[in-house]
């Protein structure tokens, strides 16, 4: 029997479960990549992976370490320029896009600009939007990914980089944005979705050993709770084997605690 899944492995597994076969999947760096590769190697062999640097539909090979690296365009029939690659999302050719952030609020809005202050006085300036705002604005479905704690899931963002459901309700549509916005938020605690009417984040499923109380304790705003909370299983031995031996054999992303890369 395999060692039980560590938090990163559970997260990668939960990410993989968000992906349905046949979808076009926009992948960023890190665990979403691992989750997407895992999905492709397990229940969703016919997905097409697309990357912001323009790589798409690569021939199977080593896991991409970078969204611009060779594995993203390895023997691909073609690549796309960056403006064009995001346009594919606008035109309805990105079914699902993964997003991380330094801060996520109850409507799934994201901050990747700075934390600990304002635009001029912060503790840490972060990367900025990159493709994050584009994916959030244009993709059909967005899946948020992160390690849940109250500071990363605050009631108020310090900066709104990428739109989720904005102020909830119909506000995203009224702002002119495309697609459904965030449909799920996958963390080490479990999977959250958004109430259909208010678009407020709520607990949908919990990882093994997690409770709604733990989830709430890891969140800076009140979490709504689904009527029927799912119990997400731990990944099976078979899946762990694929994850550890095929997808990320060098443990670049799934080693816990994280190794330096």
């Amino acid at each position: 029997m395999s060692t039980p899944a560590n938090p990163f492995e559970q997260l990668a597994y939960n990410i993989s479960l968000q992906i349905m076969d046949g979808q076009i999947v926009y992948v960023g760096t890190g665990l979403p990549m691992v989750g997407a590769m895992l999905a492709k190697k397990t229940h969703a062999p016919n997905i097409t992976l697309v990357y912001e640097s323009g790589g798409q539909d690569p021939w199977e090979g080593p896991m991409p370490w970078s969204v611009g690296g060779a594995a993203t365009f390895r023997r691909a029939p073609m690549t796309m320029e960056m403006a064009h690659s995001f346009a594919m999302a606008a035109n309805g050719f990105v079914d699902i896009a993964f997003q991380g952030a330094a801060q996520i609020d109850m409507y799934g809005n994201l901050n990747t600009h700075f934390i600990g202050g304002g635009f001029w006085d912060f503790r840490s300036r972060l990367t900025g939007s990159g493709g994050g705002n584009d994916l959030s604005s244009l993709s059909e479905n967005v899946i948020l990914v992160g390690l849940q704690d109250p500071s990363k899931f605050p009631a108020k963002l310090e900066f709104l980089t990428s739109p989720g459901h904005l102020t909830g309700g119909n506000s995203r549509r009224e702002a002119g944005l495309l697609g459904n916005g965030p449909v799920a938020c996958v963390t080490q605690i479990g999977v959250m979705d958004f109430e259909p009417e208010t678009k407020w984040m709520r607990i949908k499923g919990l990882n093994p050993g997690m409770t709604p109380e733990i989830a709430q304790a890891c969140t800076g705003f009140e979490l709504k709770v689904s009527e029927q909370i799912e119990h997400i299983p731990a990944p099976s031995d078979d899946i762990l084997q694929v994850l550890r031996e095929v997808v990320d054999p060098h443990g670049i992303f799934i080693t816990f605690p994280p190794r330096v890369r």
């Binding site: 021939w59 060779a70 995001f86 300036r125 939007s129 705002n133 604005s137 244009l138 990428s162």
Partner: protein, 363 residues
Amino acid sequence: MPSKFTYNEEALENLRIEDASILDRLIDDESFREGNLKKHRGKIDKRITLQEAVSKYVSDGDIVADTGFSYVRTPMQVFFEILRQKKKDLQFIGSPNTNQSYVAWSGCSKYSHNSYIGAEMRGTDRNYSRMVKDGRVKVLSEWSHGSMGLGFKAAQYGAPHIACKQLLGSEMLKYNPYVKLSRDPWSNEPVVLVSALHPDVVFIHCQQADRFGNAKISGPAVNDIALAYACRKVIITCEEVVPELLMRFDTKDTCIPFMIVDAVVELPFGCLPGCCPGNYYWSREWWEWLMRIGLKSDESIGDFLNYWVYNTTDQFSFIEKLIKDLGGLEYLHNLKRLEKAEEYLIEDIGVDFSYEPVIPITE
């Protein structure tokens, strides 16, 4: 100086831009066109050295475009040369804009058109964060990759501006004087207008070019095709200069025509310590040094740049330093093998991609 254009007042205020004329050149279509009309159109041998290219084409105060993708086909040796020549007051723009960090530390660059700074999972750029906080880098505009890319594309297509559906609802709208909330005249739906963008100077690393400037990019072009057409001064750096006849008899990947190119620099290994598709892998050790040690403090980045930039003279002296402690020529050869294997240009079975950190984890 009065600015030539009308900007969103709220953005100017939020960004604390008092003299908005500093913003003008990036969107001045008219002077861009005038400059293009003055370019030499004939087939002339445009080859010069990197030193000459940086000296001649990078002027203090220029808006410089970062190219490739962070460290993929990005002419890092060009940025190193900019540091050595101690250029001043440069504005940096790019999606991503990763290389501004060390260029800014060196004192060469003071202004940022910001879309993304960092090296993906390699962590936050602490140096850049410090410099913005200290006011040593001033952000002039906040972008997403896609909206900035459309600004370059609009320029390529001779379009004064283009509408898009990104940035809506984002606070970046209030921190970018080059975008504007509007409505589509037919659907009345909200859109964001993005101005055509014309950086002053761009260096684009290509696998091959001819001496006139016709050039091939293999692997993702990212924004570089658009930038070649969008920028005022265009310098092609390339792994090799090939005969014009080759360009005529093998048109694969050719995407930049000679007439828009000002100069051609034969610059083999010009992307190291980053990677060049078809040619060489990135030096993971170097990036580890940069992110884990170099960016830590003002002092450490100074030491780092002294060692790798100011005490080297060109890509070859850089490489000699790099391979000295990492395995010599075999290391260099292995970079080629790794890149080609990952692209499946060579047999990849038996090629070892594993990598062990060279710096012990002490943090």
